[in-house]
Amino acid sequence: MLGYIIRRILAVIPVMAIVAIFVFLLLRLTPGDPAAIIAGDSATPAQLDRIRESLGLSEPLHVQLVTWIGQLFRGDLGTSIISNQPVTRLIGQRIWPTLQIGTLTIILSVLIAVPLGVLAAWRHRTWVDYAVMTFSVLGFSIPVFVIGYIFIKIFAIDLRWLPVQGYSAPSENLQAFFLRAILPCLTLATIYVALIARMTRASMLEVLGEDYVRTARAKGVKERIVLFRHALRNAAVPIMTIIGTGFALLISGVVVTESVFNIPGIGRLTVDAILARDYPVIQAMILLTSAIYVFVNLLIDISYTFFDPRIRY
């Protein structure tokens, strides 16, 4: 098993290397002068020079690549063109709200989605099943920000139960944090719950037809235990996989949700960077989120060996 874990960790290296090279080439291979693209139409020659200087665009391509990889290894993600601050510092200042909302969303989603999926599979072809599936299809079809605005309209404007937008740090006021986190988390969770519930249902349906489930039922094991201990555990691997691949949806959702709810996280940082054409920040965010995605999926792949002892690579 240790061998598998080491091999799986090593497999991350080429993926991240290609992502880094890809991000590097994205700017350099775009037709036209990259400095002019970043600076916009109204830029003066002096501004263009400054951008060329700060991104090292006047060097030959291979020199730029070596410099760029070197910087990455030193943890240097470049400097923001707008605020002139190191991008790593900007990210460091903004990452906590995103991590808090993100973690809360994942926990919430799994707690809602897995029981829903199990229920839908258990009550296959009844109204419960159809209701879960309808919700799941709806979750995929409504844009995240529309869901966010619907929640704001219902719970904040009409019912006045929760604040409309904003963020408070949990270290300052835990109650205010939770009150303001509920709507963004529910918004983000919708599509994730839809995805996980759908996969849980499909995976459970497959497992519930197995002989050992019939055996367990026949020997009088309680239905709850049959479902959650016998069946769900065997259905876990595809569910874990979809939690991992669905993580990309969550990252996209964070960018949108933070704008809707005015949360000062890294999603909001990205949107501000888009509007200001702050390319170094956009570039760093692509790298960072890809790294997070790869890391989460690495952890999930390794966790299979604990969920399902039959898996030996």
Binding site: L26, S259, I274
Partner: protein, 294 residues
Amino acid sequence: MAGQPQPTSAMQVVLGAIQLPASFRLGVGPIIAAVVLVLIVLATATAYLYVPHDPMNMNALQRLKGPSETFWLGTDPYGRDLFSRVMIGGQVSLLIGIGAAIVSVFIGLVIGLVSGFFRTADAIIMRIMDALMAIPSILLAIALVALNGPSIWSVIFAITIPEIPRVVRLVRSVVLSAREEPYVEAAIALGSSMSKILWQHLMPNTLAPIIVQGTYICASAILTEAILSFLGAGVSTEIPTWGNIMAEGRMFFQIKPELIFWPGLMLSLCILSINLLGDTARDMLDPRLKKREA
């Protein structure tokens, strides 16, 4: 070429695959979905024939008006007619959805065929695809639009690139199993040209799954267009699209939520019906799945 019946034309394969299993009955859901989708497509495509106002015509005196006989859904912050804008806006949104689906399916098909058939190319191509899939699609699209400008083609391109790896993987997996079939071996032994083997023998196998995949891409592209516009990285704001109308409505959401809800409703209905039809097509094309569910 004995053994496996050899697919002759692409259309034949698709029709053969669509032949319903005896137990399969089309429910009401897909029929409603198809009707809704046809209505939305017809209504947006012919919108210029019937919309009561010029969707671009600003009128400072008519800002943010409620629904009335002249402005059926009211007006936006610039005094433009919301109904006309939503109907016309659908044109570009649908165009982007269909465009992104066709382009990504075509490029993904070519790369996937090559990757599935040539082992050396496969190793390199799949590593690149793995890396592309690791980049969250919205962020990649944002960067591409930021670099290529806010034109419709640039947005289609930006949505297409992150979708390609998914098509490549699908096509590759089909080719990997199909290339072991006797008729492909026979074609190789007979010395058929490589392009003939890829295009005439292997490609038809991939058609059914990529049609299903294409409908999902179309739905997700329409959704992505809306999100890109909402984030300020979409089609230029002068062109009405569902995403742009909602993005402009943001600031006025508390005063007039309809600015987001009407385009949002059209968009969601459209995506919902495309997704439902995609699910139906998938169940029809893959009877194994249907049996498993039953």
